[in-house]
């Protein structure tokens, strides 16, 4: 690998980066191995994983390749859509429909000689710990909260205090319109993704009764069309958000309802935005956040300068406003904290209501949870026999099932960790 990499390195290729790698700066750690040592590691040994080959991923891959990382892997489960082309600059019109990971990897290898990018077109959940163990660093450019929680928990679980290499720094980026954030997570040491779950914007959810009975906004009419009308009219056809004909049907159905109620503002674009939960995205913001992520990866891999501790957010709507701070670890974080979460509930609360609370609480957000105590199963989502057997508990009061200060373990099939609750009853 090292030999192959160096043969493509023409004299002067790294003139710019070598100014950083040949000598320390005022804020460089004394352990920095200026010169050939650090260059050999970066260009010959470092192996880095990029999760996501979309808006951030394309930028991340290009930056890493130019910076001198030679062995890059990329995972993405999506294919290219025309609406990606305003920012995902490794893709062209002719690539629409092809896997993002594959096209991005080929483009980088063609443009930046001597770099190997290994694509995987699929889900991060397909891979096991052994796979993740091979990398020095992981950079995430994802738009899915679920996937981030999964990779975060997986990397935290992998840490073995006896084996220093088992700690894989995770660098995570995200954008929305002119805003974005980049952060460095040292699994088990710094605050993790799960620790900051309550910082996410809460998604607007319209109550079903508003949608069904008292629509006021164009969004209410669109939700009515997608949530209530579609399943009624097409009982056995699943709505395909990516099919323009399906969106067209929703748009016309929502428009008719809006007319009936004299509500203005249902448009094609709004319909698509509501149904797909579209987040505005532009090349420039992705460039800022991806660059911040890759710069941290470079500093961590080379020790050439101090790295971010640990959170950087930027808002470009009113000037350039940014805030760099240390996000604190949460002691009761179900992934890295170890302490049970104290939950005070009314003795009248039913198990079903408790489950609803767990789904809705901003710092928990566990969809379809299964609950058990050290001695019994309270409610299990699967398999069907156990679901059926535990279903009668849903109507019971939690106080009948769990003693005061009793522990409840919450799990969900989509999350590779469990949450411990310590239940107290309010009088």
């Amino acid at each position: 690998m090292a030999a192959a990499a160096s043969s493509s390195d023409w004299p002067g290729r790294y003139h710019h980066i070598d100014q950083i790698l040949d000598k320390p700066g005022p804020r460089t750690d004394p352990g920095f191995l200026a010169g050939d040592g650090v260059k050999d590691f970066l260009r010959g040994q470092a192996k880095i994983l990029v999760i996501g080959a979309g808006g951030l991923g394309c930028e991340i891959l290009a930056n890493l390749a130019l910076t001198g990382f030679k062995d890059i892997h990329v995972i993405d489960m999506d294919t290219i859509d025309i609406s990606n082309l305003n920012r995902q600059f490794l893709f062209r019109q002719k690539d629409v429909g092809k896997p993002k990971a594959t096209v991005a990897a080929e483009f980088i290898m063609k443009r930046v000689p001597g770099v190997t990018v290994t694509p995987y077109f699929g889900k991060i959940q397909d891979k096991d710990e052994e796979y993740y163990m091979q990398f020095n660093l992981v950079i995430c450019g994802l738009d899915s909260v679920e996937a981030r929680r999964w990779i975060n928990a997986t990397l935290v679980n992998m840490v073995d205090p006896e084996v220093p290499e088992s700690l894989k720094p995770l660098i995570d980026g995200g954008t929305e319109g002119f805003k974005g954030q980049a952060r460095v997570i040292l699994p088990g040491i710094t605050s993790c993704y799960e620790c900051s779950l309550d910082m996410l914007n809460k998604q607007t959810q319209f109550p079903i009764c508003t949608i069904a009975n008292t629509p006021r906004l164009p969004e209410h009419c669109i939700e009515w069309a997608s949530v209530l009308e579609w399943p009624r009219v097409f009982a056995d056809k699943k709505l395909d958000n990516d099919d323009p004909d399906d969106i067209d049907w929703l748009y016309k159905t929502a428009l008719n309802r809006a007319r009936e109620f004299k509500i203005e503002g249902v448009t094609w674009s709004l319909t698509q935005g509501v149904v797909k939960n579209i987040i505005p995205a532009i090349a420039s913001t992705n460039a800022i956040i991806a660059a911040a992520c890759c710069n941290e990866a470079f500093k961590i891999a080379t020790s050439s300068a101090a790295f971010l501790n640990n959170y950087f957010m930027l808002i470009g709507t009113d000037g350039v406003y940014s805030y760099t701070f240390e996000h604190e670890k949460r002691q009761e974080c179900p992934v890295c904290g170890g302490e049970a979460l104290d939950l005070a509930i009314s003795p009248e609360l039913t198990l079903e209501q408790l489950i609803e609370t767990l789904t809705e609480r901003q710092d928990i957000q566990i969809k379809k949870p299964s609950l058990s105590t050290p001695t019994k199963q309270l409610y299990l989502q699967a398999p069907p026999q156990l679901e059926q057997a535990t279903r009668p508990n849903l109507e019971k009061k939690v106080s009948e099932l769990v003693p005061p200060s009793g522990e409840v373990t919450v799990t969900a099939s989509t999350l590779p960790f469990s949450l411990s609750l310590r239940i107290a009853y309010t009088s």
């Binding site: 023409w10 002067g12 804020r27 941290e296 470009g316």
Partner: protein, 552 residues
């Protein structure tokens, strides 16, 4: 406009069924949700001049070509060197070495978007354009929508910024300087007016100063005899107007002011409930502060009246804005209740469809009335100033009225102003020492580089001039300290950190720094061109060791 014609427009708005979006709309969907068709049209009619094809410059251009800027011209004589081929994504490795860098970059950038035109000029540089071509060269430069200069040689940059500053009609000049982990961005412009600022601020519903139809409607509600369903669907705005009106009767016409009164007021609202779970009353309680938050002209808008009035040398593109602001000032000082025109957009609230549509209509009709009053005043102002009656189109007036609570006017400054202003330097040395440290370090690099280049004038390529530019820590320190007024010093650590990084990597255009600048600058260019969102006002300094940005 009467309610009748308004409902006609509702009719026509909802009967025209849109067909599926075309290719272009689909491609730009994610950005049209930010700056809409108007912003896109502005972007597509822009022509940018970019004075280098460095890694930073091509990163900036990438983020402008992708969203569909109209045209760009790269002016750069540089021949691609092996180090260029190593750090610039818009060159093809060794294949590009020896070829004109701007030509290679334009070719590869244009692959990103068929809708964009790109040109390269490789036989001259900006100094030749400005010096040898005289007036025609200067006019050519001024003909662009915006000019971008990354690490432009100091003498050329000073000459360019002087020439542009001398004419208040000149396009904005975006200046970027970077070395290693440090960078700064500055935009030189005379005046920048923003109607659609997208500033997050909700306009007043004027609950404390209800217009006649709103007051009348609120007072007419017979809460006692409403059936339970209707009672739970009265919009909170009606509830608040009603309770406030009754409160004022028994309190000398004053709204609640003490904490005790506010508490009492809230309990009056909650006591009106027929059932404990009426969400509209809970909403009214949570919004009760609107009753004692007096609707006045926001202070930002008041100071805008003053700054607009004192602005001299108004460039043609901000002229309509000043006239609109003048009309708004007249409106707020002469039309009761001396507030901004009413906004027609209403937030969602607990209500039945019928009630919500009705209250929406009340607000809409009133806002149309007030807008018409505003238009009358505007016509007078235009006449008084002897301007063309058609100077401002209806669409602009609509947008202006709608955004009248978030308007912004920036008066720019000349590049280098801070270095000339001793008071500002003294103050910044205390309040923004880290940011100033970066500015001084980059300034020292650029003046030392200019001296170095002069000494090496015989060498043709920029590469040759760059390769052996290795200023010592002492030279940089002396050069940077010379900018500061006598007796003014930065905290030692902030100064040393910046100077130390500059000495470490005096000519490094790092891929990550270039990419980050590419994003920051493209955002600013989009804001300047679309006249939406608010651009930076000052020097934006960037430190990628500690990962922060800060305005100097």
């Amino acid at each position: 406009m009467s309610a009748g014609t308004e409902s006609q427009s509702l009719e026509s708005a909802t009967t025209s069924i849109e067909s599926q979006p075309d290719q272009k709309t689909r491609r730009y969907d994610r950005q049209l949700r930010l700056w809409a068709k108007s912003g896109q049209a502005a972007l597509e009619s822009a022509h940018l001049l970019v004075l280098s094809s460095s890694s930073t410059s091509t990163s900036i251009l990438k983020n402008l070509v992708l969203p569909g800027v109209g045209q760009f011209t790269l002016l750069d004589r540089t021949i691609t060197s092996p180090s260029d081929a190593g750090n610039n994504f818009f060159l093809e490795g060794l294949d590009s070495v020896g070829k004109p860098r701007a030509e290679e970059a334009v070719r590869l950038l244009l692959e990103l978007n068929d809708g964009v035109k790109g040109h390269s000029i490789v036989e001259k540089d900006i100094q030749q354009v400005l010096s040898s071509e005289g007036e025609s060269g200067v006019e050519w430069v001024k003909g662009f929508s915006l000019i971008i200069a990354h690490n432009l040689e100091k003498n050329a940059l000073d000459q360019l910024s002087d020439l542009l500053w001398a004419d208040f009609k000149s396009p904005p000049l975006v200046i970027i300087r970077s070395a290693g982990f440090l960078a700064e961005v500055f935009i030189q412009f005379h005046e920048h007016a923003i109607i659609d600022s997208h500033i997050d601020s909700t306009p007043s519903l004027r609950i404390d100063k209800p217009f006649p139809a709103l007051l009348e409607r609120s007072l007419a509600i017979d809460f006692e005899n409403l059936d339970v369903t209707d009672h739970g669907h009265v919009p909170y705005v009606f509830i608040l107007v009603r309770v406030l009106e009754e409160w004022k009767k028994s309190h000398d016409g004053n709204p609640p002011s003490t904490a005790a009164e506010k508490k009492e007021f809230k309990s009056l609202i909650l006591n009106m409930r027929k059932k404990s779970d009426e969400e509209n009353f809970e909403e009214a309680e949570s919004q009760a502060y609107k009753c004692w938050t007096s609707t006045v002209v926001p202070s930002d808008i008041k100071s805008l009246f003053a700054s607009s009035a004192s602005s001299s040398n108004t460039p043609p593109h901000t002229k309509p804005f000043h006239i609109l602001v003048k009309a708004l000032e007249v409106y707020t000082s002469t039309v009761p209740p001396n507030t901004l025109p009413l906004s027609s957009t209403l937030p969602d609230m607990k209500a039945s469809t019928k009630e919500y549509v009705e209250i929406q209509r009340l607000y809409k009709d009133r806002s149309v009335e007030e807008k018409n009053t505003f238009k009358g005043i505007l016509a007078n102002v235009i006449k008084e100033q002897g301007e063309d009656p058609n100077l401002i189109d209806d669409e602009t007036i609509d947008s202006f009225v709608k955004n009248s609570h978030v308007l912004r006017l920036l008066s720019g400054k000349k590049w280098g102003w801070v270095d000339e202003d001793k008071a500002a330097l003294t103050e910044r040395a205390q309040t923004s020492s880290k940011q100033l440290g970066i500015h001084l370090a980059l300034s020292a690099l650029s003046s030392l580089h200019a001296k170095h280049a002069q000494a090496q004038a015989t060498k043709q390529s920029q590469e040759g001039q760059n390769a052996d530019f290795t200023p010592s820590l002492e030279e940089l320190t002396a050069e940077a300290k010379a900018i500061l007024p006598d007796g003014v010093e930065l905290p030692e650590e902030d100064f040393d950190n910046a100077i130390g990084e500059a000495a470490r990597s005096p000519t490094a255009d790092l891929p990550n720094t270039a990419a980050l600048l590419g994003g920051v600058v493209a955002q600013e260019v989009i804001k300047m061109i679309t006249k939406q969102y608010v651009p930076i006002d000052g020097y934006c300094t960037i430190d990628l060791v500690e990962t922060w940005t800060g305005v100097l």
